[in-house]
Each structure stands twice: as structure tokens, then as C-alpha cells.
Amino acid sequence: MSTKLKKSKIGKTRGDKITDVVICAIMVFMSVVAIYPLWYTIIASLSNPNLVNNGEVVLWPKDITFIGYEAMFENKSLWRGYLNTFEYTVVGTLLNLAVTVPAGYALSRKSLPYRGLILAFFMVPMYFSGGMIASFLVISELGLYDTFWVMVIPHGITTFNMIVCRNYFTSNIPDSLFESATLDGASVTQFFFKFVIPLSKPIIAVLTLYFAIPQWNNYMNGLLYINDPKKQTLQYIIRSITSSDVKQDLADPTVDPDELREAQIKAGVMKYSVIIVAALPLYILYPAVQKYLIGGMMVGAVKE
């Protein structure tokens, strides 16, 4: 630490100072670009829709109103989707962790015979898959179509995450610890639960986020495997609210045009607040994981 302080006092040439300024400028630029769309969505969701539609809301909310959020609370299908996706995400993430962490640990032991073969077994599907139709037919054949479990089980193993997990164990659980524990009479399973799990808080935090993000955000699975609107996912419902398909429905003579226009206005008001509410759960989860993100992410050598 002290050497760092010394270093920053001396040895800063003019060129280095310019470099620092350029670095800061690039970072600020990237941050602003990354955040502004989200910020705009927040202020647009809180502002008077007429002002938003006139382009008067750009930096700060104007004429604050909550009608977007009110309209959203009245929308029952949205909340059902929210609850469904919440269940899928919690169960799915727990299942993913239960499958991935033990396998990742086992594959981190260098002494394991046929370790490379098992690893290869897990890695092949990364590059070769049966495709959408084959997966769909298998899921139908197993009777999982349109059930709760189709959103949870088929994604039980994600090779990339398992490798990240394995690499963490390789570099963080020393062999000597395992040896001394087993010499004292602990079985592998005991060692796993008493030593490995408590030592792997960072990687479990990171994996939780990595599993929860695709679970929460998944649109395709709802589109492909769910038919019953009561089981539909949040993303699918958001899509039906925010997409411009409403316009096409106007041509449908069986729908009452006034009713539809009202629905359209409501959808217009809701389109910003829906985005905020959909993103919120993961944004709440993120701060808990943030400090582990870099430490947990060691890709490096995939082979060995």
C-alpha cells in the first residue's frame, strides 16, 4: 500500500496524466451511455404522458404522476406472470445450484479418475446440440409441455457456469485441506458440506446471479413450451403489453373498438413502468453479489 502511495506522488509524467484523463473520459462516457436509457425509462414512467409524448421529458421527471403504475397494478395477467416467473426463478436457481456446485467440486479434484472424460461429456453440448425441434419433441415426449417443470428442469446444467465453478474450487480449496480433513475421518460428503460450502460463498453468490438472470429474463421458453396463459412467464406478458401488435387487433371486427382503444391507451401509459418493475428483482439481487463478481469469475484454463 505504501509503495502505491509513493508511486502516485512521483513518477507521473505529463503523458501519464493525459492517459488518466482519457481513461476517465471513456469510462464516464460508457457509464452515461449505459445508464441513460434506464434513467429515461424511470423519468418517463413518472411523468405526465402528454409531456413525454411531446418530447419535453429528457433529463428530469415533469409533472409527476403514478398513473402508469396504477394501470399496471390493475393488470391481473401481469401480476400472475410476475408470480409465475418468480416461482420459476427461485426453484430453477436452487435446482441449478444443487446440480452444478457438487459437480463443479468433484471435477476440481485432480485425483479423480476419468475427470477429463466427464468434463468432455459436459462440454460437448456447448458446441453440438439437437436443436430447437429435437428439444421440443423430447420435452413433449416426457410430458413436460405446458407444465411448471418445463421452465425449471431442462436447464439444470449449464456447462459454462459449471466450469466457472470448477475453476473457483481448483484455485480456492487446497488439496491439503481435503487431505487433512479426510485423515481426521471426514467423508467426502461431510467435507463438502462442512468445508467446501462455507468456503464458497463468493462463487455461490455469483452463480445465483448467473442462473437467476436467464431464468427471470427468459422469453423463448414461455413462447415454445407454455400454452396455458395462467402459467405464462412475465416476459411473454410484457411482450404482449408493449409490442405494437395492438394495432393489428384494431382490424379485428369482433373486438369492441372503444374497449380496445382504452386498452391501447393503458398499454401506452404502462409501457415504461412495466420495464422498471420487470427489472427490479434482479437489481435488488445485484448489490449482494457485486463484490464477488470479479473474484468468482475465473475462466482461464478450460482444459486440464
Partner: protein
């Protein structure tokens, strides 16, 4: 056969018991161990070793079962590419159909368009997004201010947590031709509306921009992790020798994380015709832009899930996978030759 395995099991259990009795005793160089080693034939020692690791194998079993059912069983389904599959059949059924699905694919009028769209879009995406993430990581690593680094990391990671559905609605929020912010501002300035979603020239920038926006912060994390593992003494030595910050970034940071860069590049090239973008493309497609947004991935979806031509759709997908594998093996071979880093 049964006798043999019983004998083996008995033997294993016996060895295991001995092992239990000897637990807690420092084993090295004791007479007991020497004697035991002499007693075991290589074959027995082999099985003993596997038996010793049985709990580790148990740990892998849930993953293996999951993978077998949901990844390997569908792989068997690629045979549907050579079969005539009808609705209601499982992946193992259907009459053999030869190469007729492939013949139809290669003769399809739109095929070259779809192929070109796929290659064009994915390579351009890799070409822009890959350096962007690397640049962001190196900037963050060399940031003079810790606070700014933490802020940037959070800010750029936030879009990664949004779903494709939300990203596409955000695109609409800004670019929609009737209520998007950009078009409203253009109208206020008295300028012409831009039909971002319907014009061919706008599609690629729109797609690339939103992909980089959403993925840059996440992709940077891998590099940040490997940058943080750089030995600081190297950096200090270079500084004392008078290397400027820019030189250190170029000659130390970039050089030392080269293995990670190559690994990530290979992982990306291995799925260059990728299915990753199908979800987004489907969300972006409309009647007007279909001609230049249809890629092989979305064509698989359209043929299979909407037209229910299971055999044909699988054939298209198999063609796509073959391209990916070809790309993967070529780039892996190339990387091995040039950089000595490779996936396998």
C-alpha cells in the same frame, strides 16, 4: 460374469475396510502400506482408486442425468434431418428420407440471403463487441479513481440484467416511429421521421448497438478477473524502467491476459452462427424487415415451430451446427499454431 464382479466387490470392500482401520495413522513408509501395495495387482489398484472416489462420482450424477435427458437425447434427434417426421412423432420415429431436406434447403431461393445475413450479422457483432469489452476492462483496470471504477462497473453491468423483451421495448422507447424519443425530438426540430425498424440501413447499427450496450459490462468481467491476477511486481518494474501508462497497458496488461482473450475469442467463434441472437431477432422482426433480419437461426424457428416442418427445420439446424463446428475446429487449430493457447 456375476461371480467375477462379486469377487471384485468383495475385494474392494475388504480394501475399503482396511483403509478405514488405518485412518488417522500417518501411512507413509509404514510396513502396513508397503505390504498392502504388494498385495494389490494393478487391476485391483485401479478399481480401488475408482471406489475411493465414489462420492465424487455421486456428485456428478445429477448433472450427468440432466445432461443425458435434455442435451444428449435431443442430440439423437439430429437424425430427424434425414427423416420424414410428422406432427405427433417422437425424435426416434419417422421414415428415412435421405438427403432430400438438404437438397431443398440448398435450392431454396432465400437460402443465400439467410446465410449471408447470419454470417454478416454475427461477424460484425463479434468484430465490434469483442474489442469494446476488452477496452472497457482495460480502462477500468487502469482507472486512476477507485470510485469511478466501481461506478462504471455497476453502470455497465446493469443493462446485462435486462431481458431481450425489455431491451427491445427500450429500443422502441427511443426509436419507435410514433412515440420514440428520437423521432419526437426530430419532429420538434422540424425534421423527417426515421423508420428505424423498417429501414434496411438502420437494422445493423440498431442490433449491434443494443447488443454491445447490453453485453459490454458483463463481457468485461472475465478480462477484469484475469487483469486482477497480474503480478504487480511486473508492473512496478516496468514503471521504474520508465514505461508510460499507455505502454504498460499495451505491453503488460494486454500481453499477460492474452490466454484469456484467445479463450474467449474461441468460445465466441465456436458459436459464431449462434443461436444466442434468435430470441432478439424474433422480437425485432416484423413484416417489413423480414427479408434482411431472417437468419438461419430464426429460419429454424419459423420452419419448425410455426410451419411444423420438423425434419426440414432440424436439417437447417444441423447445417448451422456443422458451420459452427467447422469454425470452432479451424480457429482452435489456428490459435494453437499461433498463440499456443487453445480450447482442446
Amino acid at each position: 460374469m456375476i461371480n467375477e464382479s462379486l469377487f471384485l466387490l468383495e475385494n474392494l470392500l475388504l480394501r475399503y475396510n482396511i483403509h478405514i482401520h488405518e485412518r488417522g495413522v500417518p501411512m507413509k513408509n509404514t510396513i502396513a502400506e508397503k505390504g498392502q501395495k504388494k498385495l494389490m495387482t494393478p487391476n485391483q489398484r485401479y478399481w480401488m482408486n475408482i471406489w475411493k472416489h465414489r462420492e465424487f462420482y455421486m456428485f456428478c450424477i445429477p448433472g450427468i442425468i440432466c445432461s443425458l435427458i435434455f442435451q444428449y437425447y435431443p442430440m439423437y434427434g439430429v437424425l430427424m434431418a434425414f427423416k420424414n417426421v410428422k406432427i405427433g412423432m417422437t425424435v426416434t420415429e419417422g421414415a428415412w428420407y435421405g438427403l432430400r431436406h438438404f437438397e431443398r434447403l440448398f435450392k431454396l431461393p432465400g437460402f443465400t440471403d439467410y446465410l449471408w445475413n447470419t454470417i454478416d450479422l454475427n461477424f460484425t457483432l463479434l468484430f465490434f463487441s469483442f474489442p469494446a469489452a476488452l477496452l472497457l476492462a482495460i480502462m477500468m483496470h487502469n482507472s486512476p479513481s477507485k470510485k469511478l471504477k466501481a461506478f462504471t462497473q455497476t453502470a455497465t453491468y446493469l443493462p446485462h440484467m435486462l431481458s431481450m423483451v425489455v431491451i427491445v421495448s427500450l429500443l422502441n422507447t427511443f426509436l419507435n416511429n410514433s412515440w420514440g424519443l428520437v423521432n419526437i425530438l426530430l419532429k420538434n426540430l422540424g425534421m423527417e421521421k426515421i423508420y428505424f425498424f423498417e429501414e434496411r440501413a438502420w437494422f445493423k447499427p440498431l442490433y449491434l448497438g443494443s447488443s454491445i450496450w447490453a453485453g459490454c459490462g458483463y463481457s468485461a468481467i472475465v478480462y477484469l478477473a484475469s487483469l486482477s491476477a497480474i503480478d504487480q511486481s511486473v508492473v512496478e518494474a516496468a514503471t521504474i524502467d520508465g514505461a508510460s501508462k499507455l505502454q504498460r497497458m499495451w505491453h503488460i496488461d494486454l500481453k499477460l491476459i492474452m490466454p484469456t482473450i484467445v479463450t474467449m475469442l474461441l468460445l465466441n467463434l465456436g458459436k459464431i452462427m449462434g443461436a444466442a441472437s434468435v430470441e432478439k431477432l424474433i422480437l425485432l422482426q416484423n413484416q417489413v424487415n423480414l427479408r434482411w433480419t431472417e437468419t438461419i437461426g430464426t429460419f429454424v424457428y419459423r420452419m419448425g415451430m410455426i410451419d411444423h416442418q420438423y425434419g426440414f427445420s432440424t436439417a437447417v439446424n444441423l447445417f448451422n451446427t456443422a458451420c459452427n463446428l467447422l469454425m470452432l475446429f479451424t480457429s482452435n487449430w489456428f490459435a494453437k499454431k499461433v498463440t499456443k493457447t487453445s480450447l482442446f
